[in-house]
Symmetry: C2
Subunit: 348 residues, 2 copies
């Protein structure tokens, strides 16, 4: 899922996203809450209508941005007080207000309000944080069930298609992850996310936590790994059994001139590409690789042309989506190897 | 003609320019000479191949940018010494080197090297500047004829399709404009440009100079008015008999959130558009107006999203191209009014 923080995948218009085969866009509740504001989007018919995007939209709960962008946040049982990174103004998110925000934005997939445990954290802190997330998950669900579909454009279909996913936390402790998964499942959601990863821990630990947590999540419901990763990682995690992932990497890397190709990562700013007439990725069929040379992309980047960001982003998204298509194809053919067999075998 | 200063119309990919119906793109020799460099583009097969643009390209001579971006320039009979606005390095353009640059870039339409007379200027200065431009026009033509098509990818067709246009100067003095036109025609070019306007003079004076100068230019050859104007102005000048115009206004205004519509100019940053669900221009059929609301465009601009620049530019270019299509249609139907009849009547 590409990240469209402020109701826009930076530099790429919606028709190109459709052409690329994007099925679900991620919007950041924190950012949209600040600009243009939930009430504004609500009045304008929800995010789909506002940004002219007919396909699915997933919104995060706002929790992760509150934790990552706010040094002055204050967490209580009730919720989180934080300051806007834009103007320093004070705001408050609770499980209830995070549900109201996401319902008002009209997302199809809504995330429970959670606390993203920092890394490193000691055992006591990881347990307390996980338990807070569980209590917030209950409150999220209760409020969501009571208020879903309460939007000006509501119809039977709107309420019926909105889904709230639970989030498993527990830091890097496998026993806490197991407990978090089991208790979140007990609350009951139509899908489950693994949160609190890619927060600075070593990659081997990320994988260990993912693999272990997946064992405790039902395979017949969507399993969503939040905020990862490189192309190699998304292949690895998909083969482990992850169904959904979101990551700013393809779009953010594109803005820094880092491009993913079948031959590895390329930093297009390097002088070695100034005279390179080859396509960025000779095996890629995206509109960028079919038309432009590395030399031209290098020039656009070096000259700080906006088109550099546009074309780089289109290619990186195409590469990620192609990667996921290949993984799905491979899984559907039963060709996955190693731990990926977790998908095709029922749990004991 | 949209302006693609650095081999890119800022934010808009070439396939969209094709879809918009762009026939000729303008590249700035001064900018391309500095980045990525003429020799680089030459080695890579010329601008068309470098930027993957199969349709026509016109390059200016570099003179206007040298004059407008360089306070420390030094003009002699031989040419102009100037400093790069990027790193302050010293460079020299002469009629001969400006021809070499444009031939090396592989432009289809090449402009003679001229001096853009500043405004205001006294009679003596306007005359001296006009005469210098005439001497440079002769040198431009001589060098162009001797060296056109001297490029690695040269074919009979390349040389045959490259055309060098002369530029009429003379400041705001109508008699000098007449003399400049007549003597430029005597040198002989397949088309003529009117330069040295939109340099700070009042608009009524611009029109007076254009109207007067056009009378001295052959109607059976392209007449190109450089660097104008608003939508109203391009309609006015086209009806006066101008065949080609280039202007940064649609693209530059777009970057500042100023959008041209059938109902007039809109500054999309204004709060009044925050809740406006209407299309930017209800009568426009461009991909932006067909899909997005003013509220969304306003949000993108206010949130400083790159997509704002992309969509705003696409719309403004579409509006300009639609305007010119309407003018051509109107002229071909003989419906033009007033002074436009200059086009359909042979000169005495």
């Amino acid at each position: 899922m590409p990240v469209g923080t402020l109701a826009s995948v930076k530099g790429v218009s919606q028709d190109i996203l459709e052409e690329l085969g994007v099925r679900i866009l991620l919007g950041n509740t924190y950012h949209l809450y600040l600009r243009p504001g939930v009430e504004q989007v609500r009045k304008l018919g929800g995010l789909h209508r506002f940004m002219a995007w007919p396909r699915a939209i997933l919104t995060d709960s706002g929790g992760f941005q509150v934790f990552s962008l706010n040094e002055l946040r204050k967490v209580t049982e009730e919720g989180v007080t934080f300051r806007s990174h834009l103007d320093g103004s004070s705001h408050f998110f609770s499980p209830e207000s995070a549900m109201d925000a996401q319902i008002g934005l009209g997302a199809d997939i809504i995330m429970a309000f959670d606390e993203c445990t920092e890394y490193p954290a000691n055992q006591e802190r990881m347990r307390a944080s996980m338990q807070l997330t569980l209590r917030w998950a209950e409150r999220s669900k209760r409020h969501f069930e009571e208020h879903k579909g309460e939007v000006p454009w509501a119809s039977v279909e709107t309420a019926a298609t909105q889904a709230l996913l639970g989030i498993v936390q527990g830091g890097m402790d496998l026993a806490l992850r197991k407990e978090s998964a089991e208790r979140t499942i007990k609350i009951g959601f139509p899908g489950y996310a693994i949160g609190g990863l890619s927060v600075g821990e070593p990659r081997s630990l990320t994988r260990e936590v993912i693999e272990s947590t997946l064992e405790h999540l039902p395979i017949d419901k969507p399993r969503y790994l939040m905020g990862v990763g490189t192309p190699e990682e998304i292949v690895e995690y998909a083969n482990l059994g992850v169904d959904m992932m979101d990551c700013v990497l393809p779009t953010r890397a594109a803005r820094h001139g880092v491009l993913f190709t079948s031959e590895g990562k390329i930093s297009i700013k390097q002088a070695r590409y100034a005279g390179d007439e080859a396509a960025l990725d000779p095996t890629c069929g995206c509109r960028v690789c079919l038309r432009y040379s590395r030399a031209y992309l290098r020039h656009l980047y070096a000259a700080n042309e906006v088109l550099a960001q546009v074309l780089n982003t289109v290619h990186n998204l195409s590469f990620y989506l192609d990667t996921m298509r290949a993984v799905r194809h491979s899984i559907s053919l039963g060709k996955e190897t190693g731990s990926s067999c977790v998908r095709s075998q029922p749990k004991p």
